[in-house]
Symmetry: C2
Subunit: 307 residues, 2 copies
C-alpha cells in the first residue's frame, strides 16, 4: 500500500503542476529536493510571480523513522516506528476573483518495534489515510462554490453516498477560524484516520482517496479559467490581501499540520510555502454594508449546503 500510494502522489504531483503551469501560461514550478536528517525527504515545487498564480506550492514528502515524542502523545501510543507520505498544495492566484485552493492527501503507517521480522520488515500495527480539498474565495461566485462541491460529491459518490455529507461537514468544522468566528472559506472535503473496517478495506480507502486526488484539477481549473481574466480594482486587490491575512491566521494559529511541522523540525520553507505572497492587516476593518465583500463575510459566518 505504501509504495503504491507514494507512487501515486509522485504522478499526481506531476499532473497537477502541469495543469497549473498550462493555465498560468508563463510561470514554471521550481523544484527543491530535500532530505530529512531522521529519514526520508521531499520534493517541493513552488510557482511564483506567474500570470495567474502569484504564489503556490505543490509538495510531496515521504518520511520515516522513530515516531517523535509529540506524535506518540498525539496518537496515544508508546515507542513505534512510522512511515508517512503525502501531497500538500496551496495556490494563491493574483486576481482576487480567483479563489485560493488547498488540498492534501496523505498515508500513515505505524510499526511495532518489538516484532522485527526476518525480512527486515516490521509488522504494521496501524495505518490510515487522510486529506481533503477546500476553496477560499475573496469574491463569492456561488456557481464556483457549487461546481467545486459538486466535483467533490461526484468523486465521493463513486464510493459511498454517505461520504460527501460526512466529509463536507468535517471540512466546515476543521477550517473554522474560531477566533474570528468565521469559516476560512467555502469548504470542500476533509477526512482523517480512514482505517480498514469490515465495510472498507485499505484498498477501498486507497481507491477513494485517489479518486478525490484525481478530481482536484477538475474541481479547480474550470473556476480559474472562468475568473482569471476578470477585471479588478485596487480596492478589490486590497480586500483580497486583507482576507489573505485570515488565511495566515488560520494556518499559524489553528492548522494542525502547520503547527505539527513547525514544532517537529520539518523543512520550514516547504511548510510555510502555504503563506500568501502579499498580505495586509488593517485595524478593525469592516466592508461597506450591502457590498460584495460583506456578502462573502455573511456566507462565511455559517456553513452553506452548496448542493
Amino acid at each position: 500500500m505504501k509504495d503504491q500510494f507514494y507512487q501515486y502522489i509522485q504522478t499526481l504531483q506531476d499532473q497537477i503542476c502541469k495543469g497549473l503551469e498550462d493555465i498560468d501560461g508563463v510561470a514554471k514550478f521550481r523544484e527543491d529536493l530535500w532530505d530529512r536528517p531522521e529519514g526520508g525527504g521531499g520534493r517541493t515545487r513552488v510557482i511564483e510571480n506567474g500570470q495567474v498564480f502569484e504564489k503556490g506550492g505543490v509538495n510531496i514528502s515521504a518520511v520515516h523513522g522513530k515516531l517523535p515524542d509529540s506524535m506518540q502523545k498525539l496518537f496515544n501510543v508508546g515507542e513505534a516506528d512510522f512511515f508517512a507520505c503525502g501531497l500538500s498544495l496551496v495556490i494563491h492566484p493574483k486576481n482576487p476573483m480567483v479563489p485560493t485552493v488547498h488540498a492534501n492527501w496523505r498515508y500513515f503507517e505505524m510499526y511495532d518495534t518489538s516484532t522485527e521480522l526476518s525480512t527486515g520488515l516490521r509488522k504494521v500495527i496501524n495505518s490510515w489515510f487522510g486529506g481533503g480539498q477546500d476553496l477560499t474565495p475573496y469574491y463569492l461566485f456561488e456557481e464556483d462554490a457549487i461546481h467545486f462541491h459538486q466535483t467533490c460529491k461526484t468523486a465521493c459518490d463513486q464510493h459511498n453516498a454517505a461520504f460527501y455529507p460526512k466529509y463536507k461537514k468535517q471540512c466546515d468544522a476543521y477550517f473554522w477560524n474560531a477566533h474570528r468566528n468565521e469559516a476560512r472559506g467555502v469548504g470542500g472535503l476533509f477526512f482523517d484516520y480512514l482505517k480498514a473496517t469490515e465495510a472498507q478495506s485499505m484498498e477501498d480507502w486507497y481507491n477513494f482517496v485517489t479518486e478525490v486526488g484525481n478530481s482536484f484539477l477538475e474541481a479547480y481549473l474550470p473556476i480559474v479559467a472562468k475568473r482569471k481574466d476578470l477585471p479588478y480594482s485596487a480596492e478589490q486587490r486590497t480586500w483580497q490581501e486583507i482576507r489573505r491575512g485570515r488565511y495566515v491566521e488560520f494556518n499559524l494559529v489553528h492548522d494542525k499540520g502547520t503547527l505539527f511541522g513547525l514544532k517537529t523540525n520539518g523543512r520550514i520553507e516547504s511548510i510555510l510555502m502555504s503563506l500568501p505572497p502579499q498580505v495586509q492587516w488593517h485595524y478593525d476593518h469592516h466592508p461597506v454594508a450591502g457590498s460584495e465583500e460583506e456578502k462573502l463575510i455573511q456566507v462565511l459566518e455559517k456553513p452553506v449546503d452548496w448542493i
Copy 2:
C-alpha cells in the same frame, strides 16, 4: 497597588500616544473603548497611515472576574477570582530604517473565593508584575541597539544591578522564533512573575516596573528621530515586509499573550493590532551575501551583548 498601577498605565498611555503623535506630525490615535462581558474592558488606541508610523496600537485594559479554566491550568490553581491590568503597545513605522517596537507592562492579582470579607473585598492570594520592551530593526544600526539597551539598563540599575543582565537574557529567550532559529529582534527587557520577596516588596516592584515604563519614550523616540527621514529603496521596503512576516509568525505561533487572548475570547482587534499593515512571504528568500540584510540575519542568529 491595583488602583495605583491602573492609574499609572492610564497616564502612561496618554504620554506615549502624545510622544508618538508629536514625532509623527500628521496622524492621530483613534480611540475605541470596549467592555469585556465577563468583567472589565479596555481603551484601545490605534494610529494608522501616519507620516512616520504606518500602523500601531497603544492599548490598556483592566479585566476581572472568575479565573478562566485555561488560566487555572496555566497557574496550577483551582477556582479563583482575578484582576489583571496592563498596557501593551506595538508600533510599525513606514520607513524600513526605523525599527518596530513592542512594550508591555502588566499587573495581576488572584483572590481566594473562600475568604469573602465583610467589606466585600477578597483576600489577595497572589499578585505579580510582568512586562518588558524590545526592539525589532529591519536594518541594523548598532548605535540604535546600544541606545535602546543602555536606556533599559539605566532604568534597571536604579533598582538592582542584577536586573538588566537577567531580564535582557530572558528577553532574548522569550522572543526567539524557534522554528526559524533566530531572534525576533535585538531584544531589550522581559520579566514576569515579579512577586514580593524579603528583598523586594510589591511597592519595590511597582517602582521598578514604572521606571521601565517611564523609560520607553526615551528608549525609542531618539531612534525614530534619527532614522525617520533616511531615504530607502523599493527593495529595502520589500525586505522590511518580508521581515514583518517573521513578526507575524512569532506573534501567531509563539507569543503567549496573543494566543492566550485568542483562545480566551479577548477583543480580537485589540489583540491583533500588533500585526503589521503590509507583509510579504517569498519562498525560501535569502539576502545577498555580504549585504546589510544578511548582516541583520547573522546578528539575529545569536543574541548580542549590546553593552
